[in-house]
Amino acid sequence: MSVHETEVLIIGGGVLGAAVARELSKYKVDVTLVEKEVDFGWGITKANAALVCQGMDCLTFRKEYYRSKLVWESIPMMEPLCKELDVPFKRIGQIAVFRDMGDIRPYSKVKARQEKWIPQMGSHQVLDKETLRNWEPNISRKFIGALYDPVMAITDPVKLNIALAENAEQNGVKTKLGTEVVGISPGVDEFEVQTNNGNIKSRFIVNAAGEQVDKIAAMVNADDFVVFPIKAQMWVLDKNVGGLVNHCVFAFVNDPPNMNLITPTVDGNLLIGVQLLLSDKRGDHSTSREAAERAIRYAQSLVPAISERDIIKSFASFILFRNLETGWHECIVRPSNSVPGLINVSIGFPGVSAAPATAKELVRLLSDQGLKLVDNPNFNPHRKDIPDFSELSNGEKNQLIVHDSRYAHVVCRCETVTEGEIVEAIKRIKAVGGLATVDGVKHRVRAGMGRCQSGFCRPRVISILANELGIPEEEVTMVGGKSRELLYKNKELLEEVNKIATGS
């Protein structure tokens, strides 16, 4: 049984785990990042509204919350980080509409607190009915005004996750995908961690396991926190209606904690949601008809032109709330009380937004615990994404084709994705030690994210994967494990019958 030794083991390769890995790679520390899925970003990271926000709830609630501090420190870090990592980032601003005069009081409190607590983040602006209509012509006429936050931005959390992991790996972090932690044994100076891919010995553990954060902590009885799993559901709308709003539009609802927001995505779709419900079925990421109907009703109350026919995709994930009594939650970013060397991390909401400062905080906590931090002079903060063909000029396109003619073969019609980009995505997945899959390709280059939902491109993506991985097509999977796309080869089922019938 192989034993891998490291100084800091990060459990969980979501946007948070990857951010910590990258932050640590700025120092001469031996870091290993393990992720149970065969690729990055498939947990909570891929199922959220992709907002980079101050978290309005941070302003409606207590300033002293650790979570608020981490979010507010992160916000100014996000844009430069996305630039370094070549990740999409668009500052679109948020408009929180006033349904009636009753909304003005809570919003004016938000505005006042924002000016007092985080003045460095620009000023909320009050919009009157006419300005609101000018800024958002498709919004319902019933709103009497709105509060505008110019700082709110959107990004692509999975691309950010992948970029952080790739950059961390480039800077010396060992990334082990498809590696699930099944047990942790605390020792004198180090932990011995059992995984499905051999054991790992590590001095420190950062538990950033997302939906399984409590399960991992329980392995060493370090679960001195309580989580309440809340399932969040969201829906993506066709690019045809992407122009219905120009900002992220938000409204209070009468049944919190449900949210009513409509936001553009970095790719030009709209996202609506978020429907929340308490659910103990942790592995169940199904979406329900009732939730979809409610979400559409809410969205229509904001923008009447929206219809359920515009939905092209739904998804769900679990947010782990710690303190349900107050309705909001304080994050968990702290060394375990009982197990030295283990630090538990669970932000909850907004997780993506808080990742940059949380990563820095974790490095500080590790240093407090005795981790020596010596600068890594070879740290390179820059990482380039796979070129997005649909965005290049004809001249740039043709240059790439000279380099590799597969960039001229368009495979995904809806999103204009070429074979060249798909092949590059597969290379990148291999480079970080992952298994290239249909979903892995999808998240990197968008093949299959369009309105036909891979109706045209799936057979071709499977074929390219088989070719690049040197495996037969029937071994290509959607997400690794037991998710083969094509179960039987032609005539295989008939041959089974033949063998039984003829005995040969």
Partner: protein, 418 residues
């Protein structure tokens, strides 16, 4: 493209091939067909069943056989073809941007264009099936490609949602290849496709058929493990208490086809909301001068023979346009009336023989199609939404139109309703 292109045809399925051939036959100079796949023929490639060409050739051919007849003719007439070439953009001034595996990215400005992109299939999200999002869910056409071209059977225990022709044909295909089709589920009270397919694909193999039902939930991850089906009410909503769980490892969706219209929209072509395809006149010209359309890109057909005939009109018109001929324009609007869902072409000139294509909304017996005060067809024993109706109207019948008529209403009339 060194030499200027007279007619550019987008798509090399039965529509595109027929249009290109007719364009050449009616005198067009350089005719180029752009095909995004690796071979010519579009979806005919994957249609190994017969039933093609019964009307056009008077023979019962399979998809590949029908395709090859047209390919041969196209090659004889020296139609140019560009494979692995996807048209990415099209504007009203005819500028076309193409991504070609062989030639890279280039632009061209053909004199005339025929839109023959066919249609795409509706997805599970388009009809809002809740539940998990596992692998093992395919549209029927996608599965057909896997089975008949790539060489894979997606699973062993199959449920098919939708009894359109493609769904039924795949029920037969998969059963013949050794899989078990556990159920065909149809939301309407009657089968969505041709009777011939209902008998030869479902009843022949004793596949359970659930009418007035839909799939109300998908279970399992990462591979589908079961579906829940429910009966539906008149508003097509699932009725609580009628749920039934069916174990399966594959779900095929045959829940509707939508004309491919991205390029049409980019070029400013006006679409008919009843149909999803461009509004066309009797010579198959869209509202954009010099851009024509035919086949499933205009409206979803049942018979490939009609696709070929309709696209020949588009091809001939494109050729005439490229030569600078003055083309008749349709000013009279065809309006769908009683029990008619839509009529193509949407406008006619009223001066020439014309074939009207239409579909009814509800099945009826002993019905006639009444084209305004112009003519009424013989009694048809039965009309069904799944069977497209064709009505030939002659120029002399059209002379009955009053001067200045702007609209003709097409009704489906029965003895009771008349």
């Amino acid at each position: 493209m060194q030499q200027e292109v007279d007619v550019a045809v987008i798509g090399s399925g039965p529509a595109g091939l027929a249009a290109a051939i007719k364009a050449k036959e009616t005198g067009a100079g350089k005719v180029v067909v752009f095909e995004r796949a690796e071979r010519l023929g579009g979806l005919l490639d994957q249609c190994v069943h017969n039933g093609f060409g019964l009307l056009y050739f008077g023979e019962d051919l399979t998809g590949p056989q029908y395709r090859d007849r047209f390919i041969e003719k196209a090659m004889d007439l020296k139609v140019n073809t560009e494979l692995e070439s996807m048209v990415l953009d099209l504007s009203a001034d005819h500028t076309m941007k193409v991504a070609s595996s062989k030639r890279g990215y280039f632009s061209l400005k053909p004199k005339a264009i025929v839109l023959a992109m066919g249609c795409r299939e509706r997805t599970r999200f388009a009809i809002g099936i809740p539940g998990t999002r596992p692998t093992g869910i395919y549209t029927a056409g996608q599965a057909q490609r896997f089975v008949n071209v790539e060489g894979f059977i997606p699973g062993k225990k199959i449920v098919i949602l939708g009894s359109g022709d493609i769904g039924m044909i795949m029920a037969r295909r998969l059963t013949l290849e050794g899989a078990n089709v556990e159920a065909v589920v149809e939301i309407l009270p009657y089968v969505g496709g041709l009777i011939r397919n209902e008998v030869q694909c479902i009843h022949d193999f004793e596949i359970p058929l659930f009418l007035r039902h839909t799939v109300s939930e998908i279970h399992g991850y990462p591979r589908i493990e079961a579906v829940t089906i429910s009966e539906v009410d008149e508003k097509f909503n699932p009725i609580a208490g009628t749920e039934r769980k069916i174990e399966c490892d594959t779900l095929l969706l045959s829940v509707g086809l939508i004309p491919e219209n991205e390029l049409s929209l980019k070029a400013g072509v006006k679409l008919d909301p009843l149909v999803g395809g461009p509004i066309v006149d009797e010579i198959r010209q869209t509202n954009v001068s010099g851009i024509f359309a035919g086949g499933n890109a205009v409206h979803v057909h049942d018979l490939v023979d009609n696709v070929s005939w309709e696209s020949e009109i588009a091809g001939a018109s494109a050729a005439a346009f490229a030569k600078g001929a003055k083309l008749p324009s349709g000013k009279i609007k065809m309006r769908p009336g009683r029990n008619i869902r839509y009529v193509v072409p949407q406008t006619i000139s009223g001066k020439e023989d014309v074939t009207l294509y239409m579909r009814v909304k509800e099945p009826e017996n002993n019905a006639r199609i009444k084209v305004g005060d112009v003519m009424t067809t013989k009694v048809k024993l039965a009309v069904k939404p799944s069977s497209m109706e064709k009505v030939d109207v002659s120029a002399s019948e059209l002379k009955r139109l009053k001067e200045g008529t702007e609209e003709i209403v097409v009704d489906c009339v029965t003895k009771e309703a008349a």
